[in-house]
Each structure stands twice: as C-alpha cells, then as structure tokens.
C-alpha cells in the first residue's frame, strides 16, 4: 500500500504535467492541472508517510522493469522508508504551496513582451515535483540519476522562464552546465559500481558496502560527492545558485530552497553506509560543508538584493545539513542533517514566498526600496519575522531544534566520538555561522520592516496594497511547520530517532544567534551604520560578488573552451578536410599534366611505345 502510494507521488504530478501541456487550453486550466497534480502528490505522500509511520517496513516494487545487461540485471525499483516518506511529504507540501502561489504571482501574461508561458511553467513545476519524488523513492542509482537530471532540466527551464532577459538565459545555461558537470560524478560512480559491484541497486549496495573492494567504494563515494556538491550548490560548484534567482520567486522557493538543493544531502543520507565504508569521503564532505557554511553566510551579509541574500543563506544552511550528515558516527544515523533538511524546507520556502510578496509590492528585489513594510503590511512582516527567527535558530522555532541537533551531533562527535579535528572544525564554523546568520537575518528584518520607505517615482505607494488571497494562504500553511516542526521530536518517526539536543550547545547556540539578531536590529536604532555598510567598501563588493568566483570560472573554463572550440572548428575545415580537397586538386592537376603528353605527333606516340617496350624488356630480362 505504501509503495503504491509512493508510485502515485511520482505518477500524479507527471501525468498532470503531460496533461497540462497537451490539453490545457487556457491559463486557468493549466493552473488547475498543476494544482491537482501537486495536491495529489501531497495526499499520496501523506498516505505513504502514514503507512510507513504505522509500522510498514521498507518495501520496494519494480517501477520501470528489469534490464539484463549481461554484467548483471538492473532492477529499476521504487522503495519507501521513513527517510523517503518524510522528505517526500515535505516536498509535496512545498510544491502544492508553490503551485497555488504561482497562479497569482505570475500575472500579466498575454502581452507581446510577456507572452503566455504559464501552461509550460505549471507543467514544468509538476514535472519537477515528479522528478524529485523519483529521486526520493529511487531504489536504483540509475533511476535516481534519471530523476536527478530530470530536476536539472526542469530547473534550467524554470530559471529561463523570463527568457527575454539575457541574464536569465545565461543563468539557466550556467545552472544546468554546473550541475551537469557535477552529475558527471554520479554517472562515473554508476559506471564504476556497474563495473565492479555488478549492480546499482541501492539496497544491494548498502548491504554489500563492506565487502566491496575499498578502492572502488572510496572512488564511487568521492565521485558521488562531486555530484552532491554540484547539485546542492556547495563550494566550489555553488556559483549557479545566486544567479538562479533570475527565475520567478516561487521557483526559487521550490527548487532552490526546499527540494533540488536538498537532493544532494538526501543522496548522502540514503547511501550513508557506502560513504561510511569509504574512509575519506565523509571527512572531505565535512570540510567542504564547513567552508561553504561560513563563506556563504558572510556573502549573505553583504547582499542588498533580498533574493540573493536568501540564496546565499540557502547555500549556508545546506552546508549545515551536509555537516549534520557528515559528522554521523555510525552508518545508521544521518538524522540531524535530515531533520535540518525538513525544517529548512519549511522556513526557507516561507521566506522566499514572503520575499516574493515584497517584490510583488514594490516590484524590485532591492531591500533598500522595501523599507517601512512593518506599517503597510503587518501580517506579511509577522510571517517574515517568523521565518527569519527560524532561520536564525531562535527557540522555540523549528530552525532552533534542527540547528542545535546538528551542533550537538558535531559536539558529540568532537568530544566523545572519534570525529577528531574535523568534528571540531565543523563545530566552530557551525557556531560562527549561527552568529553571522543571526546578524544577516536581523539586518534583513530591520531593513524591510523598519527601514524608511523609499520615495517611489510614480507615487502609487500611498494606497495600501491588498495581496491576493492565493499568495497569502500558502504563507500561513508554511508558517505551521516553520513554528511547530520542533514538536515532531516528541514522537519522532524512526528516521529522526538519532536527534537529541544537549542543553549546553542549545544554550550557547541560542545565546550566539540572539546576540547576532539583537545587535543587527539595534545598531541602526542607536545611530550606528548598518552592519553591511560598516564593512569597508572593497570587502563588501568582494563579498557581494560571491568572492568573484564567476570571473575565475570564466577565465579557467569558459574562455579556454571557446578558444579550443574555435580551433576545432577551424581544424575541421582546414586540417581534416585538407586531404580530400587536396587529393581532388592533385588528381585534377595530374589529369591536366598527363593530357599534355598527347602531343599529336604520330611518331611521338611510337616513341612512347618503344620506350614502354624497352622498359618492359629490361624488367622481363631482370625478372627471368
């Protein structure tokens, strides 16, 4: 029963996408297909979660049949267990909210410069949901790769939704190519595993993780890690996420907050025993996570575009999740990371949608133009406050519990476990990130809620906007998990059994984040400069541009690649094509020269006959 529900979570959105694209005549019809698909997914994942929760063991059934490869049979199966059911529920909820929200957010199509694209948009979001569900439920690495890349192409399409903007087009291509470069790792891992372990079934791999030759497991794990870093936008493959903000905000909420970026962490959690068997993999993951965590938080500090701030904050929070999983002491419990994944899905989606509303009101991303919303939109600001509080990790919101769980796990690994130096690094950077997160959340809140409203030129600022209900309702729905997900610890599903929060770290963590928030809220009150303005202008620009990694990437990859391509194209024309063209000209030239021999004189011809005879004669005598 649970497994059929799992298949439904994949099938319903997929069918909705296809029907939406083919049969939807009008915009509303397309929207309805989208919402129906999303709600179907929610119901199905709820049933699945309920089934798993009430004791249903991990089951799997064949989904796309069996493939006999000669080296072993490939079973493209679907599996459900508490990890997959909980994540799928989160994904379904966020997806539903985004579908509903988008119906109102993407208005004003149909004019020549904004052509009707909503049907395609809704279908792509549904397809994306189906792909994410496939990743979550896949019991075979190749099937997972299918969902994995499906998400990649959907994110490309959605980022490129406003394809009339050059930046959107560039961001879409960049997003797909960087993630695709990362996916090479997963594909290489699949090739490696098919080669040696003769199977890519996750269940079999987990079971056989110990027996596999150490070198193969390590190589496979590291390669998969490359895929994770690409998909979850970890350093150094994170540059695509901030640019991905070119896409419509609901897209960012769904893809770049709740689901796709989390898929990487999900994969590590799913294959934790394999990562465990690979000795070096988890330490590297931890180091990358800690670097990304701190770097992204600092970059978020210097942003003045609300969406880019949230993007960098997402990178930092995903690093948190990865750290949570990386410091796991034994192959069983990836709980802290997963728990943070669930809570982050809730509050980050809320934050993005709220940001969407703000942008909708002042139709500009810049926080400086959004000042003084506290008075005009009190309800929105409450929601913003809730979200930022959860982000900063202020009790009793969900963010606090999951962040503290990660820190506790890190501290536990550092102190009792054999986590050694790496666990300490994670712990320290975790605390520092908590501080910086507190600062930038507070700064954001103060700028948007309390800042002085910027004078808008066309003077429509005076009449108070009423946000359409379709945009407000999803916010309230998402506010529930943001606030209450902590309660789930009371009777946690078995995936979250490993979560426990030690009071010492909880206290220090809360202290640090409260300090951060308090300082950034009050500093403008007491006449000091805003936190970001306090930074020297050069440093701020450097941080705002994300450490100028884009220029590095451009110099190292893009420019040499284009030069090589031009060389290849010219080479194809001149070098490789030289021989056939050359041989034709030689043949024509030879034809002309040989034709010259026909001098017309009869006894000239006899000369050639005699010459030929003499030559043949000599050859004959020699050969006899």
């Amino acid at each position: 029963m649970t497994v059929t529900a799992a298949i439904l979570t994949i099938a319903l959105p997929a069918v909705a996408a296809v029907c939406g694209l083919l049969f939807a005549r009008s915009r509303t019809a397309a929207a309805e297909w989208g919402i129906v698909g999303a709600l179907g997914a929610v119901v199905a994942s709820a049933v699945e979660a309920f089934g798993v929760a009430t004791g249903g063991s991990a089951a799997s059934i064949t989904f796309l049949g069996r493939v006999d490869l000669g080296v072993g049979t490939l079973a493209l199966d679907i599996r459900t267990d508490s990890l997959s059911s909980s994540v799928s529920l989160a994904v379904a909820v966020v997806a539903a909210c985004v579908q509903i929200y988008s119906t109102a957010y993407l208005h004003g199509e149909g004019t020549p410069e904004a052509p009707i694209r909503y049907p395609a948009y809704a279908a792509t979001v549904s397809l994306f949901t189906a792909a994410m569900m496939l990743v979550v439920h896949a019991d075979d690495l190749i099937l997972l790769l299918v969902g994995w890349e499906g998400m990649g192409i959907c994110s490309y399409l959605l980022i490129g939704h406003h394809s009339e903007r050059a930046t959107a087009r560039a961001a879409a291509v960049k997003a797909f190519l960087v993630t695709r470069a990362g996916d090479l790792g997963v594909m290489a891992a699949v090739v490696l595993l098919l080669g040696s372990a003769r199977t890519t079934s996750i269940r079999a791999l987990i079971a056989a993780a110990e027996e596999l030759p150490a070198s193969t497991v390590t190589a496979a794990a590291l390669l998969m890690l490359l895929g994770v870093i690409g998909k979850s936008a970890q350093f150094p493959l994170h540059t695509w996420l901030p640019d991905a903000m070119e896409g419509p905000t609901p897209v960012s909420a769904l893809i770049h907050a709740a689901t796709m970026v989390a898929a990487g962490v999900f994969l590590v959690a799913r294959l934790l025993p394999v990562f465990f068997a690979a000795d070096g993999a988890l330490t590297i993951a931890a180091i990358v996570a800690s670097i990304t965590m701190l770097g992204a938080a600092l970059a978020a500090l210097a942003q003045d575009d609300l969406k880019r701030l949230l993007a960098y904050s997402t990178i930092s929070q995903v690093a948190y999740m990865l750290a949570g999983v990386a410091v796991a002491q034994d192959a069983g419990e990836a709980a802290p990371g997963v728990f943070h994944l669930l809570t982050h899905a809730g509050f980050k989606a809320l934050l993005f949608l709220v940001a969407g509303c703000c942008i909708h009101l002042v139709n500009s991303n810049l926080m400086s133009r959004m000042g003084g919303m506290g008075r005009t939109q009190p309800a929105l600001m409450v929601l913003l406050g809730l979200g930022l509080a959860a982000l900063a990790g202020i009790p009793p919101f969900s963010g606090f519990w999951s962040k503290e769980a990660v820190l506790t796990a890190a501290e536990h690994a550092a102190v009792e476990g054999d986590g050694g130096l790496v666990a300490w690094i994670v712990l320290v950077s975790g605390v520092l990130t908590a501080l910086v997160t507190g600062v930038y959340s507070g700064r954001a809140f103060s700028l948007v809620a309390f800042g002085d409203p910027a004078p808008s030129e066309d003077g429509h600022e005076t009449e108070v906007h009423r946000l359409p209900r379709a945009m407000m309702w999803p916010l309230w729905v998402l506010a529930v998990p943001t606030v209450g997900l902590g309660l789930v610890l009371l009777s946690p599903p078995d995936i979250l059994h490993g979560v426990h929060v030690s009071w010492l770290t909880a206290f220090t963590g809360t202290l640090v984040s409260l300090a951060g928030v308090g300082w950034s809220l009050t500093v403008t009150r007491i006449g000091g400069k805003d936190v970001a303005d306090a930074l020297p202008p050069g440093v701020r620009a450097f941080l705002r541009d994300g450490y100028r990694l884009d220029d590095v990437q451009d110099a190292l990859v893009v420019r040499p690649y284009r030069a090589l391509a031009r060389l290849a194209h010219a080479g194809d024309q001149e070098v490789v094509d030289f021989y056939p063209r050359g041989s034709v000209t030689v043949a024509r030239w030879a034809g002309l020269k040989l034709r010259r021999l026909q001098a017309g004189m009869a006894n000239g011809y006899v000369a050639w006959v005699v010459l030929g005879a003499v030559a043949a004669g000599l050859a004959g005598v020699v050969l006899s």
């Binding site: 004189m601 006894n603 000239g604 000369a607 005699v610 005879a613 003499v614 004669g617 000599l618 005598v621």
Partner: protein, 168 residues
Amino acid sequence: MSGAELLFAAFGLLAATAAFLAVGSRHVVHAALWLVVALGSLAGVYLVLGAEIVALVQLLVYVGAVVVLVLFALMMTRAPIGIRDDLFVGKGQRLAAVLAGVAVAGLLGGTLLVAVGDATVDPDTARGQAEPIGRAVFAAWALPFELLSLLLLAALIGAVAVSRGRQK
C-alpha cells in the same frame, strides 16, 4: 674465318651501313636508294644463311615492290629534292630517338649475344630450297597463308577505297 663467314661479313656490313645511311641521309631520294641497297644486301645475307627462297622473296617483294612504292609515294607527295635539313624532328626528340635506338639494339644484342655465345652453325643450303619450304607450307601452314591472302585483299581494297574520292 671460313669463306661463308667472309661472305656473310661483307653482305652484313654493306646492309648495316646502307641502313644507317637510309635512315640518316638528309637527301630524300638518297634515303630511298640506300634502302634499296640495304634490302638487296640482306637478300645476300639470307643466301649465305641457306634460306634461298627467302632471299628470292626478299628481292622480289621488298626490293621490287615496296621500295618502288616508297619512291612513288615520295614523288606524289612532292617531297623536296636536294639537301634539306627539315627532314628531322626537333633536337629533343632526335636525341630521344638515338637513345631509343641504342637501347633497343643494346637490349636485343646483349641478351642474344649472352645466349648465343660463340656457338657456330653450318647452314645447310639444301634446307632453304623451294621444295622443302613448299612442302612445309602445304603440310603445316595452310591457315596462315589463307589468312594472308585475306589480309592482302583487305589492304588492297582499303588502299583503293581510301584513295578513291567521294563516290557521288
């Protein structure tokens, strides 16, 4: 050096020099006349080698008919009389001609001399008489001679048809 050898040397030498002059002379009619001398002395050579009938045929057909035809042809194509230096092709092709001639002579002569060495042969004059040749022709070579007659007929008709003008 037996008597026959001496006779053969004389005729041979005469034939060779006459041939070279026929080919090299700058006077058109002299060339034809030297050809007559060459072919005549060759008839002598055949006599020495014991091929009596062949010598006769050589005298009759070659010297009698062929050379006469050549002379007539020279007259009818109003070939220039007297010493002319336009009877030879350009420098390049003449050199090639000399080289070709020497090469052919060398190749033939060399191969045969190596094969022949100093073998001597005593030609039996009776073998070349008319009677044995006639008997051989009728006993063994009927088909070639019939075909030969056909060939001569064709050559005749061809020559007449070609030289006769357009038949109105």
